[in-house]
């Protein structure tokens, strides 16, 4: 329990490893139309060390949520492997998977059954997996509700009687009652007010220390990700374009897309005005991704080669040659980085 910050050395098994994971959707198609293919996730490889928080950022439609769904076994990958604790999960059934990996979703208003009491909602995983007697299950539910900071009487309430922050606490209790190794947090605080967001972020940090959890933390709020994440992966149109430690990404971003993302985050500092980030309009149509580097139509420093060759996600050393600590390998997919 005290092992909170396990270093990312090679002896430690990875909590999660993705090997060239892809998901392709077929869109449309009928008598007169050819079906279009959409590569929602395109050959994503990622290693998440145990006990760390991996932040995953990117604009809407970049494939973050599809990636999360594949990890949870909610949609099968088109190709590639997912390894949890070193074991492949492709053929594992969902029930076995649920013991290791659990989700916390964005909207606590739609992720809880409105017709069930909180005790039933939180205890459901235990009943499905037939763990313990009903009495033991009830005790575990009580203990879990206490851990996430809900009063005892909450067990008999319905979700409709609770505030957004309380509901998200219920969702967290339900995710953690199976004692998973890995929790996928998909925008867990975006639907909450800022004063409540801080309560939930503190809770997530406390529970991570308490249970030695590993988080994959998906968010569009860069300030929140910077606060929580040990490492960070930036996605653009289904691909990871940059990955590294928090310090690397936030102090010396190498990919122009990462730089634009960071520049557009608005911190509460008056007088700075709104940055002019010089990106064109929104993302290109994902069914017809641009040739070469997918980012080149919006890239402020694009060169002719960027529209011809696809840059590979490859390891980099920092420009100053300064190391950011052991095992802090960074990767970037840009010809010019």
């Amino acid at each position: 329990m005290t092992n909170t910050t396990s270093p990312a050395n090679s002896m430690d098994p990875l909590a999660l490893e993705l090997c060239a994971l892809s998901k392709t959707f077929k869109l449309g198609g009928g008598m007169l139309h050819k079906p279009q293919t959409l590569k929602a996730v395109n050959e994503v490889s990622l290693r998440v060390p145990r006990g760390q928080v991996m932040g995953l950022v990117g604009e809407s439609g970049c494939g973050k949520s599809t990636l999360a769904k594949m990890l949870l076994g909610l949609t099968p990958p088109s190709s590639g492997d997912v390894l949890i604790n070193g074991k492949a999960i492709v053929n594992a059934n969902q029930k076995a998977l649920a013991r290791h990996i659990q989700p916390i979703f964005q909207d606590p208003y739609s992720s809880l059954n409105p017709r069930q009491r909180i005790a039933q909602i939180v205890g459901l995983p235990l009943r499905i997996h037939a763990l313990g007697t009903p009495r033991e299950q009830a005790a575990k539910v009580d203990q879990m509700l206490d851990l996430v900071g809900l009063p005892k009487r909450a067990a008999q309430q319905y979700p409709g009687q609770m505030s957004g922050g309380q509901r998200q606490r219920v969702a967290i209790a339900r995710a953690l009652i199976m004692r998973p190794d890995l929790v996928i947090c998909d925008e867990p605080t975006s639907a909450l007010d800022v004063s409540i967001q801080a309560q939930i972020l503190n809770l997530l940090l406390d529970l991570k220390d308490e249970f030695g959890l590993t988080y994959l933390f998906i968010s569009h709020d860069l300030a929140v990700v910077e606060h929580l994440a040990d490492r960070l992966a930036v996605m653009y149109l289904g691909q990871i374009v940059e990955e590294g430690t928090r310090e690397q990404i936030f102090t010396a971003p190498r990919h122009p897309y990462t730089q634009a993302l960071l520049a557009s985050a608005l911190t509460p500092e008056p007088g700075l005005g709104v940055p002019d980030i010089g990106l064109g309009a929104g993302q290109p149509d994902p069914t017809q991704p641009p040739s070469g580097c997918a980012f080149h139509p919006r890239c402020p420093i694009a060169q002719p080669q960027c529209s011809e060759q696809t840059p590979k996600l490859s390891a980099i050393t920092h420009a100053s040659g300064q190391a950011f600590g052991k095992g802090s390998q960074a990767r970037v997919a840009c010809h010019l980085a």
């Binding site: 007010d193 860069l222 910077e226 985050a265 509460p268 500092e269 005005g273 709104v274 929104g282």
Partner: protein
């Protein structure tokens, strides 16, 4: 507020564009009456950006709907004064009011997909916004729509004019909404969380655009948001709302430098700020939740979540001047107004 001599705006020659005094909005609900807006005062000068900031349920959207006259029929609006450039919005006949809407005060909503009509082309909707209020030819309306679409940064504007809302991305739709709001060159635009549904990169572009257009057209904007980062970057003045009241109002510089209401201070402390909050440290959350707005609230609405609260807070604090045009609704406002850097305590926690 407006008759104070500390004029920070150059347009001090005339009275404020909008004056709101003791605005109250009540909604009948099953358990009684929900006091969504509980007597708020503010004003908007010509050409300024006023940010109304607060969390969900604080009454900021109800305030904007009351100003636009778009509240549900069962809602009751009362005020001592609701004056828009000499027009009393409380007594103006509905017919005249609907002439004001769009022509002199326009609104930009959070979700442009629900605000645009899916069955009409963009060109059609944009032109109608102008032709509804002014006698101009089809061609003139079309030209203005085209000009504004280009002005808000939409490429291939001629082609877009023939498209339907569903053919555009969220960011483009919001640009169209902005263009539509500008069709009649209104004096006031109310923008209700216009960038909340957008990605950060698109948000920065839209905010940049709004700021540019505001300076070009001299439009006053009431910008409603819950995001203090946005407020800091675009606001001239800020009004912070809590539980249906304005609890602090000041220039953006003063508010962020020396917040003097415990709620504002708490809000600024609880957001992680790069360079100020230590990554992975516990944030200083505001404990508890907002009070129910059904029925009467005795004393200060924030006192159950406030670590400064004592006996005095059982009585309702007045909105008192802290300095110049900086007002705070707190008994301890003067003690709290010291400009201490707030987030420094954070790092040690």
């Amino acid at each position: 507020m407006s008759n104070l001599s500390t004029a920070e705006h150059s347009a001090a020659t005339s009275s404020p564009l909008l004056t709101v005094k003791q605005l109250r909005v009540d909604l009948p609900v099953a358990k009684g009456t929900l006091h969504a807006v509980r007597g708020i005062d503010f004003h908007v000068e010509r050409g300024e950006m006023l940010c109304l900031v607060g969390e969900s349920g604080c009454g900021k959207s109800m305030t904007s709907l009351a100003l636009m006259g778009l509240l549900p029929r069962k809602a009751q609006v009362n005020a001592d004064c609701l004056n828009f450039d000499g027009v009393d919005l409380l007594t103006v006949p509905e017919r005249e009011r609907s002439n004001l809407r769009g022509a002199r005060m326009a609104m930009i909503f959070q979700e442009p997909m629900t605000a645009l009509n899916p069955a009409y082309t963009l060109g059609n909707q944009l032109s109608e916004a102008l032709r509804r209020h002014q006698r101009v030819s089809r061609q003139a309306a079309h030209d203005r729509a085209l000009y504004l679409l280009k002005r808000v940064g939409i490429s291939a504007a001629e082609e877009r004019m023939r498209q339907y809302p569903h053919q555009l991305s969220g960011g483009l739709r919001q640009r169209v909404m902005i263009a539509m709001a500008l069709m009649c060159e209104p004096d006031l635009i109310i923008a209700d969380e216009p960038t909340t549904a957008l990605d950060v990169t698109i948000q920065a572009q839209i905010l940049h655009l709004l700021r540019d257009l505001q300076q070009e057209f001299g439009t006053a904007i009431i910008f409603i948001t819950h995001d203090l980062g946005v407020v800091a970057r675009i606001a001239d003045r800020v009004a912070v709302m809590y539980a249906g009241e304005v609890i602090e109002t000041a220039s953006a510089q003063a508010l962020f430098k020396a917040p003097s209401h415990p709620y504002t201070q708490g809000l600024l402390r609880c957001i992680p700020t790069p360079g100020k909050t230590l990554p992975g440290s516990r944030l200083q959350a505001i404990p508890g939740v907002v009070p129910s707005l059904v029925g009467k609230i005795e004393g200060c609405a924030f006192c159950n979540r406030c670590d400064q609260a004592d006996e005095r807070c059982r009585t309702t604090p007045p909105l008192q001047a802290v300095a110049g045009e900086h007002f705070s609704r707190c008994h301890f406002a003067h003690q709290l107004a010291s400009p201490a850097p707030l987030n420094d305590q954070e790092v040690t926690s």
